[in-house]
Symmetry: C2
Subunit: 447 residues, 2 copies
């Protein structure tokens, strides 16, 4: 048993605001050297295509091949990877995929369908919802290679009806992660390339002879990938740029303290910048959680990362009551929010900003990470104030539909012309007026 | 009558692809001088707040005042502006606002509501949809001051339930646009400041003593505003960065040619970079449209801008048939797409990418700009491949909801643990396993 020196704060002390501010402070410093190298790589890939991608893959991933063909993973290779993992792993991947698919199918029904109506003049109004033609999914290689992320990116795209899903995954020195390839097989990606970094983002955004140009790129990556995604935004769509992962636990003291300690660990083990925070109105319970942390830390294989994360960025915060804990949670707008309470539905309505809300003691965040069904790609660093989990809607776009009836054009034409003249846009006004029936009762059309 | 030298292309000629490529080519060159000035302004506003905003407003807008208070427009001032415009203008603004509101209320019902369900294990899954707390709306001042844009940005935010809507609008040398202020009154913005440029974007993104920090900034602006929005993205949400406006007309030859000519003008009059393209399988009809253009151009007050736009970026394209016209339209993914046909519903299903689709001869694009109901803030420059009109959904965000039942935790725990061990995340696995019931039939909780 060893003590983990995690910060203890108390909302009733005078220095709380200052200490709380220090806990929250995190900023992604822009590294100018990275920015410039990424700009150069993108420009090169745009101009030289496959040749540039081959060179950077040899240089950065230590993977030297003669042609882009050697960097494509065939469907047979993905299938072989699936068959090579253990039966338990195959079952788990397939069960997770099934649940993730079922949830996103509900999401499609709930908010992803076309709609239209006619107003009293017979004018048709609505929105047509269509899938993107082709998307690229970036999957990190190396130490943070997560097969679950393949499912979480590819399945919503599939459910949305995306025609082609192109996966890129770097394989440093040719090392392939069998579970990632198996997940690509289960999720049904259309094509996969063993490329990564800014060069992979560039290949997807601009297209090369071998890699098809996509309409949107999703998926996490390192600083080079994040910078490249930012730069190609506009050329293609991108999802959010992710910061370090975070968990906030609101506890009323009714959950076994070991469970809470392990949930805090599960976030902390991601990396040293990950953040785990507990908000609780029960001082004795906070002590029990601290004791559980101290008792359990040594049994964790990733204890060094967990300790660094908890001591660097973690906090156990004593609040006056659960309502105050909810108010503080709204200021943080966490990625993952556990409401570990015997009465979670009492607090849920008070929670306005969070990527995902996990209700009740049985809902460990890790169940959501893998297989509950909802997406595990969530807004970080307070961006839950204005953004949403990855979903079917990220792989669709909308077109407004308008069919103005002849009668509707008479009313709308007068309004539009008045406003257009007010804006000094006379052609707009005239275009509306041409659709008005003349007073002589003819149809106004000069043929 | 004067000839407008608009490009005529024919899909059947060998050089079509090359000529078509030249028509489409447009790229927003990044201006490094602007980039650096914007970065400096943002850093200064972040650090010095109101003082910096006051200085830049004096320097760039020629508007010198003693305090930020003098840069706030009171509700009374907005009301006075509304009362000072003509009754016809008041009626038109209110009628447009009513229709835009009605459409966006339908949108909220169709795709903006929370949803949830329970699976066979009693596990609750869903998404909670909530409005953003506070948004900023950028409204350009000067030559392109559009009251309709105030309605199109503020009303969806209102319908979404946004708590506070902060408008910023530069008033160079103190010149206020009465229609813009009146529109702000009709749309019900919460507060309004006469500031603009990168300094206004910075004030909204970081907050100052006077200007509250917002969660998202929407609305069009010049190169400085666009660059500033790109830079604060992540700190706050932003909408799309808009390029020049575009219209594509698919015509089967049944609409009066004057109507089509005026619709092309209405896009071209925005600015010289705006793009108007006609696709039509009827060569004689294209000649009629050209004749109408030549006949009507001299009567347009904005004829110089219209001519520059049509000659620089416009095109009349002869296609083999309407199906080919639809296929070319999908390659362009236009902002505005008119299907000027006697049978528009025959072609609509073939159209996959467009910001807004206007069906039938009576649906001039200008009706959609002002009052049909759908939003006029639309994806430009081919971004309709992956993005959507501004809508209620831009002022909402989603939180996943998960409540795993005790029984659900037994199944999900095994799947999650298997995958977590496979990813080397043992704390994730243990957190799931702690929720499993032990074989001895106890509840597994150590108290």
């Amino acid at each position: 048993m060893s003590t983990v020196s995690i910060r203890h704060l108390n909302t009733s002390t005078p220095d709380f605001e200052q200490a709380f501010h220090r806990v929250l402070h995190w900023s992604a410093e822009t590294d100018h050297a990275i920015e410039e190298r990424v700009a150069a790589i993108l420009a090169d890939v745009r101009q030289r295509g496959d040749a540039a991608v081959l060179e950077y893959t040899a240089r950065f991933d230590g993977l030297e091949v003669d042609s882009m063909g050697a960097l494509e993973l065939t469907r047979d290779e993905l299938k072989a990877a699936f068959e090579a993992i253990t039966p338990a792993q195959r079952d788990a991947l397939e069960a997770a995929a099934r649940r993730v698919r079922a949830y996103h199918e509900r999401q499609l029904q709930a908010c992803g369908l076309s709609w239209q109506y006619r107003d009293e003049d017979g004018t048709l109004l609505g929105q047509k919802v269509t899938p993107l033609d082709r998307v690229g999914i970036y999957v990190p290689g190396g130490k943070a290679a997560y097969p679950s992320s393949v499912l979480m990116n590819a399945i919503p795209a599939h459910v949305a009806g995306v025609g082609e899903i192109i996966m890129v995954v770097p394989t440093p020195r040719g090392e392939r992660n069998a579970l990632v390839l198996a997940a690509a097989y289960v999720a049904g990606v259309s094509r996969a390339f063993t490329i990564g970094g800014a060069q992979a983002v560039g290949a997807l955004a601009f297209g090369t002879t071998t890699v098809p140009r996509v309409d949107k790129i999703t998926g996490p990556g390192n600083a080079y990938v994040a910078s490249a995604k930012r730069r190609v935004f506009g050329q293609v769509g991108i999802d959010m740029i992710a910061g370090p992962s975070e968990i906030l636990v609101l506890a009323d003291g009714t959950t076994p303290p070991d469970w809470i300690a392990m949930d805090l660990f599960s976030q902390a083990e991601h990396d040293e910048l990950a953040q785990s925070i507990l908000l609780c109105p029960d001082a004795a319970y906070i002590d029990q959680v601290q004791a559980a942390i101290d008792r359990l830390i040594d049994g964790m294989p990733r204890r060094d990362v967990i300790r660094a994360s908890l001591e660097g960025r973690g906090a156990l915060i004593l609040t006056q009551d659960m309502a105050q804990a909810c108010a503080i949670s709204n200021r943080i707008a966490p990625e993952h929010l556990e409401v570990s309470s015997s009465d979670p539905h009492r607090w849920e309505p008070l929670l306005r900003h969070a990527g995902a809300i996990f209700l009740g003691a049985y809902t460990s965040e890790s169940l959501g990470d893998y297989c509950a069904g909802p997406n595990h790609v969530l807004p970080t660093s307070g961006t839950a104030r204005f953004s949403s989990p990855l979903g079917v809607y990220d792989f669709q776009k909308r077109s407004s539909l308008i069919e103005v009836s002849e009668q509707g054009a008479q009313t709308l034409g007068l309004i539009a012309a008045e406003l257009a003249y007010g804006e000094g846009l006379q052609a707009h006004a005239r275009a509306a007026e041409l659709r008005l029936k003349p007073a002589d009762g003819s149809d106004g059309v000069t043929r």
